[in-house]
Each structure stands twice: as C-alpha cells, then as structure tokens.
C-alpha cells in the first residue's frame, strides 16, 4: 500500500473542483439553514437549473456568459416558485416541497419530451469549450511528484475557489449588516421579528433566492468541470452531501462550508485509497470485493460523522456555548 500516493490523492480531492462546488452548495444551504432557519431539502434543484441553464444556452448557440446569466435567472425563478406558496407556512412545508421539486425537475429534464433541448437521459456534453479557451495557464502538469494537476484542472480550480472566496466575502458583508441580523432573528423566532416590524416573508424569499443562486453556481462549476450535464447527476443525495458538509463545518459560520467540503472530500478519497490498498495487498482476504469499496467508504464516512456528532455536535467551527443556548 502506497501511503504517500493515498495521501496526495486525498489532498488533491480536498482542494479539487468538486470540493469547491460542494463548498458553494453548502454555502447556499448555510444562508438558508444556518442563518435563516429555512429547511431547504432541494438544493440540488438549484444546482440542476444552474448547470442546465448554462449547458442548454451554450448548446443552443448562445455565448457562455449568457448561459451563466440564464442559470442564475432560473435559480431566482425557482426560489420565487418554491418560496411564494410555502414560506408563509410552517418550516416543514418548505422541506417537503423542495425535496419533491428537486425530483420533479430531474424527471422533467430527463423526459423524452424535452430531449431536443436537454438531451434527455443522455444529457449534454462539450458545451464548456469557451471556458477552457480562456485558460491563461500554459498546457502541462503542475505540482510536486504525484501531487499535480493539469493546466485544465488548475484553471477550473482557480475559478471555482475564487468564486467561493468572492461569495464568502459578499456574505460576510451581508451577514454582518442589519439585514443579516434580521435573518438571524427570523432563525431564532420569526414571531418576535414580526412583532418588531420586520416583513419576515420578504426576508425569507430573499434568503431562499440568495442561497439558491449560490447553489446554481455550484451546479455550473460541476458542469463546466466535467463538460457534461446529465439528469442523474442531480439526485437528492447531493443535497444531503451538501448538508453533511455544512454540519461538519458548523452551520451559522461563514467558513464552515469550506472547512466541511475540504474534510469531506479528503476523507472520502482517503478511505477509498486505504480500502483499495488493503484489498490489493490481500489484507482483507475475501471479506470485500473491489466493487464494494465505494459503498463501504461511505459507510465509514458516515461512521466518522456519527462520531463527530457525538464528540463535537456543534461542528468543527461551531461554538459549544451557542449550541447549549439553543436548548433553552
């Protein structure tokens, strides 16, 4: 078992494009859940409209920038569509509606009726060439030893993490403002916020749209990185991975999604590497087979999360005092 290779692979995963995308998706959920107390179980729907908005627009002959705008516009529309009927109701209604909407959208995009537009079950490929044409990094591989990236990977990573940085900067400004204070007040007790003259419904809509647009950016990043969109990428488990990332980091902390995403992807790759290494070395005998590794690593990551919740329920960045305060 080559431990150095396993570690470098894990580090590569920890700072790779999927980690950046998960950090964005979880940042959107942080706005929803961590700061406003909204239970959005359909973050993947925002990722889907972001990815497809971009892919379809470019595929139909539009420029890339227009595709990004269409993706963002669709996320805004989705936020309004989800929020207007549900945000006046109790919190659980939003959860039910969002998870159902995410599944509906996935089935609609893979439907035969829309195949000419979305590519149906085959999705759309090779639409992000204009993005890679902008790459200023000369072709080649960069890094040390086995820890290296292609110029192409580096370009997407740079844009992805830069986006994460800019979004976090914007959120820092927003959440430290009186606007952010109202969101937190709604999270704590929306009737109290109402009694002090705050239009709770309007703030919830704004929060849902803002977090949803950030989720759409995550979808775009994943789509551009792989140069492919496919309806079956956008399954509900993605929403729950994003929640995992957020809770790992500690909801209600600006940097939590970044810390969570880096650790999540490191652990996922690390357990995968160790399991495969052990399998190759014959240490596991015939207990598991190669095609079972992927499932077992998720079980191990789940076990790790359970331990975290027992030992540090507030997440890595969260404060214990805050958690205890919450219990009243």
């Amino acid at each position: 078992m080559d431990l150095v290779k396993i570690l470098t692979d894990s580090l590569r995963a920890a700072i790779g494009v999927p980690a950046a995308a998960y950090a964005l998706a979880a940042t959107g959920l942080n706005v929803h859940f961590g700061y406003t107390g909204l239970l959005n179980f359909g973050q993947v729907a925002f990722m889907l409209v972001g990815a497809y908005g971009t892919a379809v627009t470019v595929n139909e002959g539009g420029p890339l920038w227009l595709g990004l705008l269409v993706g963002i516009g669709l996320a805004v529309a989705l936020g309004l569509l989800l929020g207007i009927p549900t945000l006046r109701l109790r919190a659980d209604y939003l959860a039910i509606v969002t998870i159902a909407t995410a599944e509906i959208l996935r089935y609609v995009t893979r439907s035969r009726a829309l195949q000419s537009l979305t590519g149906g079950v085959f999705g759309i490929q090779k639409f992000a060439n204009p993005f890679f044409d902008l790459n200023p990094i000369p072709p080649g591989r960069y890094g040390f030893g086995t820890f290296n990236f292609s110029h192409r990977q580096l370009w997407v990573m740079a844009v992805g993490w830069l986006t994460v940085g800019l979004i976090l900067l914007l959120l820092t400004v927003l959440l430290r403002s009186p606007w952010g204070r109202v969101l937190k007040a709604i999270r704590e007790d929306e009737d109290a916020a109402r009694s002090l003259g705050k239009n709770v419904f309007a703030y919830k809509i704004q929060s849902l749209i803002l977090g949803g647009v950030i989720g759409a950016l995550a979808g775009m990043l994943l789509a551009i990185d792989t140069q492919a969109v496919n309806p079956d990428t956008f399954i509900s488990i993605l929403t729950f991975f994003a929640y995992t990332v957020l809770i790992l980091g500690g909801p209600g902390r600006i940097l939590a999604p970044v810390v969570g995403a880096v650790i999540f992807w490191f652990l996922l790759q690390f357990t995968d590497g160790v399991l495969r290494g052990a399998l190759e070395a014959g240490w596991l005998g015939s207990a598991i087979e190669g095609n079972e590794v992927a499932a077992i690593r998720f079980a191990l990551v789940g076990l790790g999360l359970m331990l975290l919740m027992i030992l540090r329920p507030q997440g890595i960045l969260g404060s214990r005092e805050e958690l205890l305060t919450d219990e009243r």
């Binding site: 914007l170 400004v173 927003l174 403002s177 009186p178 606007w179 952010g180 204070r181 109202v182 937190k184 007040a185 999270r187 704590e188 007790d189 009737d191 109290a192 916020a193 109402r194 009694s195 002090l196 003259g197 705050k198 239009n199 709770v200 704004q206 209600g252 005092e321 805050e322 305060t325 919450d326 009243r328």
Partner: protein, 278 residues
C-alpha cells in the same frame, strides 16, 4: 396611581365600551371564533392616550386572543379597529408594529443566539441596512452607531448593560422579560402592549418592571397590559378593563372595578379555584 389622580379620566363613566376623551385605540365589533367557541366578542373598547390600562380577566377570557387580533398575529372574523384614527384591521403583524403599536408575548421570545445588544438593535425602526441593497452598498453605519447608543442606554436603564455581549439565551426568565420590554421600547412604540409582563418574575424584579412601566407612560407612550395579579393591576393602572368569556364585562378606575360585583363573580364565581390557587 388611582383613578382620582388621573385627570384624563375625569367624568368618564365606568361602563363597558365607554368613549374616552382622547382615545389612541378604538376597537368595535371585534369577533373571533375557534370552531364553536366564541373566543372574542368585543363590542367596543377605547384606550385612552397616555394612560396605563390594565386588561384583566379569568383564564380563557380571550385577552391574549384579543391582543393577537389587534396586532395582526391572528385574523378577526369581524370588526374594525383604529390606531390614531388609522384603520388597522387586516394589516399584517409587521405593518401594525411599524405604525407604532408594539407588543410583547406571554411566553417570552428572547432571540437566544443573538446578543442582548443585537436583540435591541434589531428593533430599531427604519434601518437603512436592513434592505438588501443598503446592506451591500453600506452607508448604514452612522445610523447603526446612533442606534447602538440608544440600545446601550436602554440596556443600562433596564440593568442589563453588563450582559450586553452575552447571548440572550443565557438570561433567566425574569431577565428575559426585562429584555423583551427594553426591545419593545427600542421600536419606539406609541402604544406598548404587554402580555403578562410579570408572569414568572420574582418579587424584586417585579418592582423594577412596575417602575419601568410607569416610566414608559411618563415618557409619553400609552401602555395596555394583560395581567393576572390583581394587586399589580390595581396598583399600577389608571384604568382597568375586565374581560370574561370573550366580552368586555366591566371597565373603570381600579377601585371601582375591584368592587364591581360582576367582576367578583367572573373571578371568584366561575373561576374560584384558579384565582385562589394562582
């Protein structure tokens, strides 16, 4: 603070629904039923500007429901009510608060994971930084600094200043009542509606809360408060309104109401066990 010392009520007859010389709130025909139960049926009630009005009545009399209707937290089946001449029926809770009618809650709603200072700052009306565009573009800091000064002064006044950076969730029950009252004042109410401000408060804090209520009136706001403790109501109010089974059954100066046989009947006759055990 007896009726004799409240010149505003000179010549006002102690009858249910009686008009006041200068009412800030006028409610007429306000009704609300839950299924077959008629929780509120107030024919007419006027609240005199600049006074402290106590609203009493046995459990289930509809006092809190009446509060909820007036403040937009519940929808009335019928009725109109005017605040300073402005119709408020059908308005939503945040709109009611913005015109200057601010309420507190029977079960205190401290915002647990916000600091005491943030609890107060939240309540300041007309904040530029509360708009998304305003929050991004900035330009709200001068206003915020002024609000912070007001908030700190209020926390000082309510004896909470040493705790201003703590989470509100760490406060005791009595301190939460103080915080909620301070927070409501930060919203600059013209009519402050307190729902059982003394519930679960120890006697020492109770005195301080009472003093605060008097002070609020002295500063020009009107106070309407629900209270179970008869001694508190009689000692603090300029005027007392009694509700039973959803209706206003009596109103008048504290001494007169205390001696009203119908009030004694409502409290002791139908609700004897609870009144004695409370």
């Amino acid at each position: 603070m007896n009726a004799e010392s409240s010149p505003a009520f000179q010549g006002v007859a102690p009858l249910p629904g009686v008009p006041k010389p200068d009412p800030i709130l006028v409610a007429a025909g306000v009704e609300r039923s839950f299924g077959g139960l008629r929780a509120v049926a107030v024919d007419r009630l006027e609240i005199q500007r600049g006074s402290i009005t106590g609203l009493i009545g046995p459990n289930g009399a509809g006092k809190t429901t009446f509060f909820n209707l007036l403040t937009g937290f519940d929808r009335a089946d019928a009725g109109t009510w005017h605040f300073d001449g402005r119709p408020l029926q059908g308005k939503r809770a945040h709109q009611v608060a913005r015109v200057g009618m601010v309420r507190t809650f029977q079960l205190t709603k401290a915002l647990g994971r916000l600091s005491l200072l943030d609890n107060l700052l939240l309540a300041a009306p007309g904040q530029r930084g509360e708009r998304l565009a305003g929050a991004v573009l900035g330009g709200w800091r001068a206003q915020e600094a002024a609000h912070r000064e007001q908030a700190e002064a209020l926390l000082e006044r309510f004896g909470l200043a040493p705790l201003s950076r703590h989470f509100a969730g760490t406060l005791s029950g009595g301190q939460r009542k103080l915080l909620e009252m301070a927070r409501a004042l930060m919203a600059r109410p013209r009519l402050l509606m307190l729902d059982e401000p003394m519930a679960g408060v120890n006697p020492a804090l109770r005195q301080s809360l009472l003093a605060h209520i008097q002070e609020i009136r002295t500063e020009g706001a009107t106070v309407l408060f629900i209270e179970h403790d008869m001694d508190v109501v009689m000692g603090t109010s300029d005027w007392v309104v009694v509700m039973a089974e959803g209706r206003v059954i009596a109103e008048g100066p504290p001494a007169a109401v205390g001696a009203d046989p119908e009030v004694i009947d409502a409290y002791l006759g139908r609700d004897h066990g609870k009144a004695a055990g409370a």
